[in-house]
Symmetry: C2
Subunit: 300 residues, 2 copies
Amino acid sequence: MVRASGATPAGSVWIGDDAAAVPAEAGTLLLATDAAVAGVHADLDLVGVDDLGWKALTATVSDLGAMGGRPRYALVTVCLPPGTDVDRLSAGVAAASARWGCPVVGGDVTSSDQLMVSVAALGVVDGPPVTRAGARPGDTLAVTGPLGASAAGLRLLRELRGCAAPGTVTPAAPVLMEAHRRPLARLAEGALARTAGATAMIDVSDGLALDLHRLADASGVGFRLERVPIAGGATAEDALGGGEDYELVVATPDPAGLAAVFAGAGLRPPLVIGVCTASAGERTLCGRPLGRLGWAHEVR
Amino acid sequence: MVRASGATPAGSVWIGDDAAAVPAEAGTLLLATDAAVAGVHADLDLVGVDDLGWKALTATVSDLGAMGGRPRYALVTVCLPPGTDVDRLSAGVAAASARWGCPVVGGDVTSSDQLMVSVAALGVVDGPPVTRAGARPGDTLAVTGPLGASAAGLRLLRELRGCAAPGTVTPAAPVLMEAHRRPLARLAEGALARTAGATAMIDVSDGLALDLHRLADASGVGFRLERVPIAGGATAEDALGGGEDYELVVATPDPAGLAAVFAGAGLRPPLVIGVCTASAGERTLCGRPLGRLGWAHEVR
């Protein structure tokens, strides 16, 4: 099931041995893992097993991007119930692997009652990574794109369930459903934000509000949000509490510098949402307290 | 749930950020992953969730040992049904992490219907790893210990099921049951075998016969086995087809040198079982064909 994407370089060992062997990497090594479980992270009545595979790999490399790193290699573990369309699952993993330049070099396949895909990835960063913990009072908070598309796409998929009259589908619908099925990792943005002096970053996997609280908790700061960019067709609730957008939240003392490096690379401009404050208890949106809305997969 | 074992070194990031960050490593990097699923890899009526956690981490570092490497860091993903004893599971993972010197630096926790623990580990090896593919005709085949203890221990656990009259338990029984509950990884043996010139290695995870065929397939050789060391209290079938012993099979042109380095390190002597042959179709034990007995978790 687990296939290496591309030819194995000389001196490396990919699929088929006890472990994969790859050359040493300069810089700091990053290790991340994410699991996608059918029925928890994906409703397979609404999305395909290929989408589940895509999401598992993309969520993992997104974690590397949120440290300012780039992915190098992935391991993919799949627990498969009988009848799973393994080829389709593999195709989704392979598509994400190719998209993010992160070859699958090993893995494990086992049987189970519930479909689960767990991806672990090794990444690298040329220098100190950008953690969640470095934001300082006065730093500007920005996001790499509007939020809520994935949650809105999921709602649309649920509403339509294969029986949509075409006239009920808004022009934004295909974009939103695609955002849910095939989220994108902001790897270029994360790497550039690091070189532009970002002090803290996190990817929006469980909703902007919850992930922003996590960043603020780790950094010991508060925040005052003045605006939240909402994806076309999404609601404010989608943008604040919907998960799996994978846009990055970036704290920086130099938002103009951040905008300049993004522009220089042809990336969408970062969208300023607010500022970090010295009072760690201050967590507001337009002057009102912002709770820990969001989507927690964690059991504890 | 996932706890780092030990204090985080300065400059590293362990649990709690998007990814773990660790210093670069010299030498070849090794990446391995293994999953343990309740009901597939462990019967939780017979063993504890701590044992499942131990096994998942130990099986993964065993894969690194089978390349001649040593473990450095682990990521642990757990998919938890409601009511799982998370503290006990964590304790098993932590015990294995401490035993094998492989701190858990990150992970993911999610809910599921079926308990699953997936461990990915980064290891290193100072030079070329020992793959499955390097055995040559004439190389001696040895194992690092007698086989079948885990399978025999599982059978005992099934027979006893908490209702054993003490008199029915043989003296070997506790050892065998422990071998099933808490298998050991032969890390020192793997690293020393590499420096002593081993040409190929594999760990016995799915049964000696099956894993030996895998080594022979990868190396393009045949084998003639003259003997199979059977753990006390185990049967020949346990030794040939039982999984999860995690002893290493070592191919070497210099068995005396292998024995000498093991003796020098105070390790149990390697046990010679046979020889590699030039005819890839020759796969015999005491002159009779040896089939691919063993325990395959793979769905395909």
